[in-house]
């Protein structure tokens, strides 16, 4: 189906089902229960889950396939966001032009950055992309304040020109919409003790994510994708086979930059504001982590990684001392205090510490990410059957 192999179609359908039913899946706890605060099925978080999924899917096309580790992809996300918000200020609050321009601008910017950075490979490349991203961040904060809003950032104002939209009447706020359907529109469904929220913005972002995922499958299975894997595997052989590695890596760089721009545009479409901190190096590091945590070079990995990180961030940040006290309440007092003291630095505001540790753990113990981990676990159960030496499915194009 869709020009995909059976296996890839299954994968796509699984992801589609998961995203469509996310409002149910992410809201397992009934309203008013003690665990309800760990529900993740509210629009804002679900939107971020799929948008960062797009970001990671794109990053994976560069890093997963070619092995070029960019440390500056947040810059493209940021540039995309700024472009989108300007569309909303100048043209219309409809999200379509905003998203289209964010992809375009991020693509052009990544073409420039990639053209320069790809003159070198390996560590040099990583450092260069990092330097570019930090430069963009500094620029957005200082010189480009007229365009970026500097420290305060940008958001649509009532008196922006917006030449395509009808003028807003007094008291009306500019709201992002798709031909009139506002992103914030939600329908709430109460079933028993549960409340499920279906949000227009989320479903639009989810559809874009599914399209982006579908496109990445096509890229992975295409001759272009195979060349990118060849770049990672043996660039010397590729050159001596009459193929020019540079345009291949540059194309991958630009495609991943456009994915980042798309994610940036969608972030603005959902929450109409942008600030320079979106381009900070930690944001670039985060997408790297999402990709490796899920499994770089695998199709589903980045989606899983992005979901996992954003979900964890949400949950872990919410845990505070009171919650910990509830959890450890069954223990004797002394031991309870001890556990709370141990755990406390890692939760709430300590999320970054957990993130850093997770980063190290994954690189040290699970370089293949969750997907490889899952395969290993599955392998343990299969061990009893006769071992078939069928090669790893993801590197052999199935027919």
């Amino acid at each position: 189906m869709f020009g995909l192999t059976k296996r890839d179609t299954t994968l796509l359908l699984v992801v589609a089902v998961l995203t469509i039913f996310a409002p149910f899946i992410l809201n397992p706890f009934p309203e008013g229960s003690a665990m309800a605060q760990f529900n993740a099925g509210y629009p804002d978080l679900m939107q971020r889950l799929v948008i960062f999924g797009i970001f990671a899917i794109g990053f994976n096309i560069l890093f997963g396939l070619t092995g070029y580790l960019s440390f500056g992809h947040a810059a493209f996300l940021g540039v995309g966001s700024y472009a989108a918000i300007w569309m909303m200020k100048l043209l219309t609050m409809n999200v379509i032009p905003a998203i289209m321009i964010s992809v375009l601008v991020a693509g052009l910017f990544s073409l420039l950055v990639g053209w320069i950075s790809l003159r070198r490979s390996g560590i040099y490349f990583s450092i260069l992309t990092l330097a570019f991203a930090q430069m963009s961040y500094s620029l957005a904060y200082s010189v480009l304040t007229p365009i970026t809003g500097g420290e305060t950032g940008l958001q649509p104002k009532v008196n922006d020109p917006r030449i395509l939209d009808a003028a807003l009447t007094e008291g009306q706020n500019p709201r992002a919409n798709l031909f009139g359907l506002e992103m914030g529109t939600s329908y709430e469904m109460a079933v028993g003790g549960w409340i499920f929220t279906f949000n227009a913005g989320y479903y639009i972002a989810a559809i874009v994510m599914l399209l982006a995922f579908y496109l990445s499958i096509r890229i992975f299975r295409s001759p272009f994708g195979m060349m990118l894997r060849a770049v990672k595997s043996n660039q010397q052989r590729l050159n001596y086979t009459g193929l020019n590695a540079k345009p291949y890596t540059l194309a991958a760089f630009v495609i991943s930059g456009m994915y980042a721009g798309l994610a940036g545009g969608l972030l603005v479409a959902m929450d109409t504001q942008v600030g320079a901190e979106r381009m900070f190096w930690t944001a670039s590091g985060e997408v790297v982590l999402m990709t490796i945590l899920g499994g770089a070079g695998t199709l589903i990995g980045p989606v899983l990684g992005a979901g996992f990180i954003k979900y964890m961030e949400n949950i872990v940040s919410k845990i505070n001392k009171t919650v910990l006290e509830q959890w450890f309440a069954f223990m004797p007092d002394g031991i309870e205090d001890f556990f709370i003291t141990i755990v406390y630095p890692f939760v709430g505001k300590g999320w970054h510490l957990t993130l850093g540790l997770l980063f190290m753990m994954v690189v040290i113990f699970l370089p293949g990410g969750l997907v490889q981990g899952g395969q290993k676990v599955a392998g343990l159960f299969k061990r009893k059957k006769p071992v078939d030496d069928k090669p790893d499915g993801k590197t052999t194009p199935a027919e």
């Binding site: 295409s222 894997r229 060849a230 052989r237 001596y240 009459g242 020019n244 194009p397």
Partner: protein
């Protein structure tokens, strides 16, 4: 006029004159071996032919066109393929994919943004890659990871990948280095068969005299960056200068 004409090529690394003044002519459809002791400049010469190094002086003409200043992929597209000392293949890819990449390079040139259609839908390339694997007697291994092949099979695959591009000149850099005797003999047979059946010129750099004398039609002896003699294998065998510079050394070393 040979297919490959090397004239007055010199290359210096800092204080070291790696190549002095090399003149070499490789005739079309022959097997030409370049031998010489360690440090004679064989690898430097080879690197100058494929665009990895740019010589300081002289000219390198392939089929009437200069290769100097061209990058490796451009030189490859002109019709020169290179086999490395340790087999250079795409270890993370399957054997079939390894074979498909040069077929794509042959069909689409140095770059083609073919990012939407599936690899397996490119019937002509798949067909051609399978055919080449067949010819290399590796059809049964097409699904394997290339890195899991035996050393001899890696070598076969690499040679097959080069041949699939139908190059006019095949450069081999010590293709049997580190191989067991049986693998070496297999490789010799393979190369013999290739040179007999195909419209191809082979230039080979080799240490192993057994390989050289089984294959070569002409031999150039390099010593200290300059060609000592160039002649047929029979004449080279008896040449006193060569014995002194090279054969004597290997005999005592062996």
């Amino acid at each position: 006029m040979g297919i490959l004409e090397v004239k007055n090529v010199g290359k210096r690394f800092g204080g070291l004159q790696a190549l002095g003044d090399v003149n070499l002519s490789v005739a079309e459809r022959t097997v030409h071996a370049i031998i010489g002791p360690n440090g004679a400049g064989k690898s430097t010469l080879l690197n100058c032919l494929v665009g990895k190094l740019i010589p300081d002086t002289g000219s390198v003409m392939f089929d009437g066109q200069s290769v100097l200043g061209r990058r490796p992929h451009e030189i490859n597209q002109m019709g020169i393929s290179r086999v490395f000392q340790t087999p250079e293949i795409f270890g993370d890819l399957s054997v079939l994919e390894n074979m498909m990449i040069p077929c794509f390079a042959k069909r689409d040139g140095a770059f083609e943004l073919n990012a939407i259609s599936s690899v397996m839908s490119q019937k002509d390339v798949v067909e051609r890659a399978r055919h080449m694997l067949d010819e290399m007697n590796m059809a049964d291994k097409q699904g394997m990871h290339a890195s899991s092949l035996s050393r001899g099979d890696k070598r076969r695959l690499e040679i097959g990948m080069c041949l699939s591009q139908e190059p006019r000149l095949l450069l081999l850099d010590e293709p049997t280095a580190g191989m067991a005797r049986a693998d070496t003999n297999n490789t010799i047979d393979l190369l013999k068969q290739i040179s007999e059946e195909r419209d191809i010129t082979i230039a080979i750099i080799e240490h192993d005299m057994h390989v050289v004398f089984s294959l070569a039609e002409r031999i150039t002896v390099l010593a200290q960056g300059t060609p000592l003699v160039e002649d047929t294998p029979d004449n080279i065998k008896g040449h006193p200068k060569v014995r002194e510079a090279y054969l004597g050394e290997t005999q005592t070393a062996a």
